[in-house]
Symmetry: C2
Subunit: 254 residues, 2 copies
């Protein structure tokens, strides 16, 4: 049985809480948060507290708070005995200076409130200073996911950066697609099967092979027609920059 | 029974062929192509020809060739009696000047050779000059898809442009994510659940609501760290431009 305390009440905290709650070999001793209101939904299943003085002894402390708050929260755990891990993509492990037994337990997914995810498919990126702690985290991670990886803080930085490209920026392209459709009274739903297929395709092809479109073909006429259609200056800039970047990738092959 | 002739042997032609082959109410009389070799896989199921002189009389002629070739191919069909439609996202219907009974039958999807798609979910965008032809196309489209839309040539231009953003450009962002991972010896598979979830999310949230990340939060520290990590000049430009574009969207709300 692994005992854990979760610090934080946001999306990551809630999704991890739900995943661990479903596992017999894990006991969630406590959830720690700043707001009684946010703690309410956890209190049906375990103990909750707003006070750092009341924190229980546990095997693992999971910090699931915003990056800005990790330093302070981890500092408060300096006298506890268990391993202290944060769940952030970009915060370096060694920045939790006050903690000797420190680690990272980073689930690589974008969580949305109220939207269930299949945790077994979510990659969990692990790191720890001590090998025995790494093994404990590895054991814990495998209880909820089939995708567990050893990732250094340096690699994690790159993963987080790559995630910004494939998640945040991709979503922004969807947003531009949505705006263009709205202007012409076209339901955005029309684009959804294409969006799904685009994401699905790279399970079987690598993105370089999967590329299609006017920029890849070097179809200047279509590119100019598209730029002519775009009224918004930023959209034009994005169209040009991404088209040129695609063109460059395929010109190199000639 | 609707009789059709398909002109073209590429991905769109092949996927439409497969979809119509599975429908009792459609008879594919012929597939017309330039290369005997490409026609081979169709010849097991229907007649094939490389000669425009041998084209049969049909209710509908489906042109599934590259945009550059639509003008020439449609011109050769000027003396046939059926409705002539092309399947392109960007080619205006009225550019098929020689054809009186003209229309568009545009399946909005990115087809990959050998990768099956569920045609019932693929939006089909229809247009025709004559109402009776529109009704025929509408009937034909519903035989293979549940998503049939009347879309003008003007709207279709915008859809095609929006598709470049959500498909071609999105795939390019995946490619950058892949490159970043490769440099740091991180398996790209780690990002795939995130990519799937990002695409899936906009089935329930609109992309504006679904946006997350440092640019939306105005988290300058993370943005600067990311720009510091990027070595490639074009990747830096893409990161800055997209981050600024996201920032602008959310600043307007303050």
């Amino acid at each position: 049985m692994i005992s854990i305390v979760i610090l934080g009440t946001g999306n990551v905290a809630k999704h991890l809480f739900d995943a661990f709650l479903a596992v017999d070999q894990v006991k969630i001793l406590q959830v720690v948060g700043r707001s009684q209101k946010q703690l309410l939904e956890f209190s049906k299943f375990t103990e909750v507290t707003t006070g750092f003085q009341q924190i229980k002894e546990a095997d693992i402390y999971l910090i699931a708070v915003s990056d800005d708050a990790i330093g302070e929260v981890s500092g408060r755990l300096a006298n506890n005995k268990g391993v202290v891990v944060h769940t952030s993509g970009s915060y370096p492990m060694d920045s939790m200076l006050a903690i000797e037994r420190r680690g990272v337990f980073y689930p690589l997914q974008s969580f949305t409130k109220g939207k269930k995810v299949d945790f077994r498919k979510i990659p969990i990126c692990l790191e720890a200073t001590l090998q025995k702690d790494y093994l404990l985290l590895d054991h814990l991670a495998h209880l909820i996911s089939d995708q567990v990886f050893h990732i250094t803080s340096e690699q994690r930085k790159t993963i987080h950066l790559a995630a910004v490209f494939v998640n945040n920026f991709t979503n922004h392209l969807y947003k531009i697609g949505n705006d263009l459709c709205t202007e012409q009274h076209i339901p955005f739903e029309l684009l959804q099967p294409l969006i799904t297929e685009t994401a699905d395709k790279i399970n079987t092809l690598n993105p370089h092979e999967a590329q299609t479109g006017p920029a890849k073909r070097g179809d200047i006429t279509t590119i100019e027609n598209h730029l002519g259609l775009l009224k918004n200056k930023t959209q034009k800039e994005i169209y040009s920059l991404l088209s040129n970047s695609i063109k460059k990738d395929y010109e190199q092959e000639l």
